[in-house]
């Protein structure tokens, strides 16, 4: 009776939650539990032949070098893109934030252009640009004599990851730039005036005055950038399909290939792929927790020193 009473008293809140709960239930909460369930099955996904195998998939994953390579590449990608993207866009934002720069908006628009371009298009254009057969970038490098024969940027396992990382940073830099510009706009003008009186400028001004003010934003911006960098599937798929010889196969490509499109002709392994997804998700969660703990400790230490 009391429970019903409480529910009835808050009926409006519960009722209004329904649309959001249906959507998030179907596509966020349910899939998380279902993935864990699938991860414990031996199942191709295409017939009713489904068998419970407990943690066997995880045991197999731990011994699967292709999984670990893909995992390593995902981390490599994260470390290669996020810091570069954050630092480059912050520098650019500081230049563009100058009110005397009349063309600032035009520059911003141009830097933002790749962000609104569909990933598949970006993939195609860059495949051409980086092509060893008459691609303009190889042409330029040959002309100025930096290299003597064309580099197969996307076709060699040494260069494929740096190339993909470079294109990713190029594609998404514009969005981080907007975030930083928004953060910089919250710095009041008199802060700059005061700093000028103290003869504080250049790098010292940035590090000592501007950065501490935009720090709360920096945390949010870093978080958004990291989450986005986990979804690299479209770019890599449209540029290299994960090749050459798995050379750019990050976690999501591994999962997709195992679950839907095993090109070596073997039966798809939905259970195994789900287990890989669960393991990857848990490791990312672990890394996130570690990182937030480290940030908190660093902050506490800084407070202790002050």
């Amino acid at each position: 009776m009391t429970l019903l009473h409480t529910l009835y008293r808050h009926r409006f809140a519960y009722l209004m939650l329904v649309p959001g709960l249906i959507l998030s239930g179907m596509f966020v909460f349910y899939p998380i539990f279902a993935a864990v369930f699938y991860a414990m099955q031996d199942w191709s996904g295409f017939n009713a032949d489904i068998k419970f195998v407990g943690l066997q998939n995880f045991v197999n994953l731990f011994q699967d070098p292709i999984f670990w390579n893909a995992f390593g590449r995902s981390i490599y990608f994260l470390l290669g893109t996020v810091p570069a993207q954050l630092v480059l866009s912050l520098l650019l934002a500081m230049v563009l934030n100058n009110q005397l720069l009349k063309l600032s908006n035009l520059f911003r628009t141009m830097v933002f252009l790749p962000v609104v371009t569909p990933v598949a298009v970006i993939g195609i254009v860059w495949t051409f640009l980086l092509s060893p057969f008459n691609g303009p970038i190889n042409g330029l490098l040959l002309d100025i004599g930096l290299i003597s024969r064309p580099i197969d940027f996307l076709g060699s396992s040494d260069t494929v990851m740096p190339s993909v990382i470079g294109v990713y940073v190029w594609k998404w830099l514009g969005i981080t730039l907007i975030y930083w510009l928004a953060a910089l706009q919250t710095v009041p003008d008199d802060v700059y005036d005061a700093a000028k009186l103290d003869n504080c400028k250049g790098l010292r001004l940035v590090v000592l005055v501007v950065l501490p003010i935009i720090m709360p934003f920096a945390v949010a911006i870093t978080l958004i950038t990291m989450v986005s960098a986990l979804n690299v599937f479209p770019l890599i798929m449209s540029m290299t399909n994960g090749g050459p010889f798995f050379g750019s196969e990050v976690m999501e490509i591994f999962i997709y290939r195992t679950a839907f499109a095993s090109d070596d002709g073997t039966i798809p392994r939905l259970g195994y792929a789900a287990a890989a997804g669960v393991l990857f998700g848990m490791m990312i969660l672990g890394l996130t927790i570690l990182q937030s703990l480290a940030t908190r400790m660093a902050r506490r230490r800084a407070e202790g020193m002050a």
Binding site: Y30, N97, V111, F112, I124, G277
Partner: protein
């Protein structure tokens, strides 16, 4: 003289230098687009002989070939359908949920809020298999409606958190005054709170458009069995797989597919920028 970070002497000369450097940088930055446009107007034999950007003979037929062979019209419609459909669903559902989570205290709120926030980091690779299975079970795994639904679920959690944060900052007096006047809860949300949250609505709309337009894994998986519902991204990707030699046709198809977004972006630029900025400020 304000907001001048890098030095302050002889500003005009400095500004001129920065402008020049930025112009060069931006030209390099958008070179891929210029190159794509140039290639789309050359003939397939010319691209190997003429490395310059101006085509010798303007091959407009590339565009008609791309339009018919790559099935662009159909894919355009599909992408538009998914984008608009998911926009409507997402904005409605997340603003409501954010409003309730941000302003109401009810049993279960904390659990729901923590559960929602903790899923922000779940990568798409984690959920794609159950999502596909769920749509199959509902008979929607090869339909545009299914794709629209799943695209809506994509970034929903971040939007709920953003809305909850925004709504929780609004002053209490507004609702109380309305409640005294005898306005219903629903009317308070629809006529008072939602209009007040306009900046956040714009943010969510922009972010969802970008998500839907850029989405790839989901449409790829869902259209595997039904090529007729491919979105532009997947269609272009498939065209690339089928045509390895027709560079100019592909460049034309690529150009066609970015024209609407680029025009939309240039027209609504202010909203795009302010909207995205709202995501960090909120």
């Amino acid at each position: 003289m304000k907001r001048l970070i890098f030095g302050d002497h002889a500003p005009s000369r400095r500004i001129a230098l920065i402008s020049l450097a930025m112009t060069v940088l931006c030209m390099i930055w958008i070179y891929p687009f210029i190159w794509m446009l140039a290639t789309s107007l050359k003939s397939n034999t010319e691209i190997f002989g003429n490395p310059g950007l101006i085509p010798e003979s303007w091959a407009w037929e590339n565009y008609s070939r791309a339009w018919t062979e790559a099935n662009m019209g159909r894919y355009f419609f599909n992408t538009l359908f998914v984008t608009v459909g998911s926009l409507a669903l997402v904005t409605f559902a997340t603003s409501l949920m954010g409003y309730i989570l941000g302003r109401f205290r009810f049993p279960g709120r904390t659990v729901l809020f923590v559960a929602t926030v903790s899923t922000v980091f779940v990568p798409q690779g984690f959920t794609i298999i159950p999502v596909f299975e769920l749509l199959s079970a509902m008979g929607l795994s090869t339909s545009l409606v299914g794709l629209t639904l799943a695209t809506s679920g994509n970034a929903i959690v971040i939007f709920v958190v953003l809305f909850a944060g925004y709504f929780s900052q609004l002053p209490k007096e507004l609702e109380e005054a309305a409640r005294v006047e005898g306005v219903t809860q629903w009317q308070i949300f629809w006529y008072i709170m939602l209009p007040l949250a306009r900046p956040m609505v714009v943010t969510v709309v922009i972010m969802q458009v970008l998500t839907a337009w850029n989405d790839f894994l989901l449409p790829l998986v869902i259209t595997l069995a039904n090529p007729a519902i491919r979105t532009l991204s997947v269609g272009i990707y498939a065209f690339k797989g089928e045509q390895t030699i027709d560079w100019t046709g592909m460049a034309a198809a690529a150009t066609i597919s970015i024209i609407p977004v680029v025009i939309l972006f240039i027209l609504l630029q202010r909203y795009f920028i302010n909207g995205l900025a709202g995501a960090v400020k909120g």
